[in-house]
Amino acid sequence: MDERSKRPHAALLQLRNVQMQFGGVTALKGISYDVPSGIVQAVIGPNGAGKTTLFHCISGLLTPTAGEILFRGLPIGGLPPHRIAGLGISRTFQHVALFKSMTVLENVMIGRHPRTFSGFWSAGLRFPRMRREERRILEEAGHYLEFVGLSGERDLPAGALPLGKQKILEIARALATQPTLLLLDEPAGGLNMRETEELGELILRICETGITVTLVEHDMNLVMEISHRILVIHYGEHLATGTPEEIKDHPAVIEAYLGGG
């Protein structure tokens, strides 16, 4: 990791008045926020606040109707998702979106896609370069599985894993793209307490490798425990930002969110 990304508050991702409308419904009413580099960062807010929509906008699945998204200073709004993945933003999904009939290992191998090159010809004709690359993909995918602790299940179809492990596998797959910024959409959803604890540790370990992690999460214990900074949105609007301690005591947040619950 270079020095720059270690510096706190060097904005890795900048949101400038990001808006999103569906037909007549406004899901995001202009979010502005700088994601600092190298930390774990949480986005919280009540259901329907627009958290997942925000992730979709950042990862390119949706194009914001207005506003600007800058990643490392480059505008990425409107780029197709695979380009954004190539630039170094990867993500997981709220509802697990694994390639269910492919094996655990193959799922992670897909993650290597933006960092590898062989196309139809070199694959079909099995050029030596492609075979070297294929061996490397296999090896690296193995490392990522080891990192998240799924080496034992590598040859099972992904759909056969229990939900907890599917969530972990999604993270491994996302890590395999070598992201600078990792977006986790409710990673703890549906996990039991022990699994959540392990997940927290995994997220911190990921952060230690220099990857900036941003997560949307409802499990407040987890959020408070691992986040360095928190962004609160409410009805598509920026409500508050701060450290977990600041957020815990923020009156607007308590009213809108914690107080309501």
């Binding site: 999904f93 390639f99 897909i110 896609h113 139809f120 694959a123 294929e134 179809p157 793209t177």
Partner: protein, 317 residues
């Protein structure tokens, strides 16, 4: 390719190599070699169908059109301009690739029934063009007296020669497809089939891959079309109509769409069913054909190969 695939590959290659020697001594089935030449030609088309529909999950009802583009390019260049078939064949494949690319870019943004309708419409348009451009294609009466094929200076004059040539080509294409499937590209195609947006988010340029695999399937069909031209030495638009696009899909369905072996098995089986074995039913043929389809689609939706696969394939609900 996995070791199991290699074993089936060798076994099948052996069987295909031995087939003529098994049927030719028996007079009544000796012409099965002819049927197998057609089966081989169709198999090339069906490999493309499997890659496109079985693996990448994109429906195309236009494969007969690409088959026709290859066939007619070869026919026109060799028949009217006396070009060498070996130059005409890549020309046909290139034209098919170009057309597939141009049509594929807008069409493959569509999904499901809309994609089916778009490709179907395109296929019918190609068929109409073949029918109407009488100056070039000979119109509905087609073209006759087209040249045969020489391989390394040898004329393919017997069915047996054709048989080995065509099936040799099939196995080369099969190898190519297997290698593609067991690579970064193949994984990406399967990923597109299963979760397109997840694949996209993992850095897979889904739009480009869909067009590329469409082009691949078009090229395979076009090469098959060229072979068809030089084997039959005459052409007629009715071999390239919508019914044939559907037939190619059916062949693959019956064998099993999620496996190249299934495509091969289905093609051979359905070619025999369609051209040979149903003759005993005479006029009931069409009913028996329909019934076979219905039974396979209802009770064996993953095709005949699903009888042989060991592990159940997990599927998204």
């Amino acid at each position: 390719m996995t070791r199991k695939d290699w074993r089936i590959f060798l076994l099948t290659a052996l069987l295909i190599a031995a087939f003529p020697w098994m049927v030719q001594p028996v007079k009544a089935v000796s012409h099965y070699v002819d049927v197998m030449v057609f089966a081989g030609i169709f198999a090339l088309v069906c490999l493309g169908v499997t890659m496109l529909m079985g693996y990448a999950g994109q429906v195309s009802m236009a494969q007969a059109a690409f088959f026709g583009i290859g066939a007619y390019t070869s026919a026109i260049l060799t028949g009217r301009f006396a070009l060498d078939p070996w130059l005409a064949m890549p020309a046909g494949a290139s034209l098919a690739a170009l057309v597939a690319w141009v049509v594929g870019i807008p069409a493959l943004r569509l999904k499901g029934h809309y994609l089916a309708m778009a490709t179907l419409g395109f296929g019918v348009i190609v068929h109409i063009i073949l029918n109407e451009e009488v100056e070039w294609t000979g119109g509905p009466s087609g073209m006759a007296d087209l040249p045969g094929l020489h391989v390394l200076g040898w004329k393919l004059s017997t069915e047996l020669a054709w048989y080995y040539f065509v099936w040799g080509t099939v196995f080369l294409a099969l190898l190519f497809c297997f290698h593609v499937l067991h690579s970064r590209v193949g994984r990406a195609l399967r990923a597109i089939h299963e979760e397109e947006s997840a694949a996209e988010a993992m850095g897979v340029p889904t739009a480009r891959y869909k067009v590329q695999v469409f082009v691949l399937s078009a090229v395979l069909a076009a090469v098959a079309g060229s072979l068809y031209t030089h084997f039959v030495t005459c052409l007629n638009p009715s071999s390239f109509n919508l019914m044939w696009s559907i037939r190619f899909i059916l062949m693959v369905m019956v064998g099993g769409m999620q496996s190249l072996w299934g495509a091969l098995l289905g093609t051979v089986l359905m070619t025999f069913v369609g051209n040979e074995w149903l003759h005993v039913f005479a006029e009931f043929e069409i009913l028996v054909y329909g019934a076979i389809l219905l039974v396979v689609a209802l009770f064996l939706p993953k095709g005949l190969v699903s009888l042989f696969t060991r592990k159940p394939i997990v599927h998204n609900a």
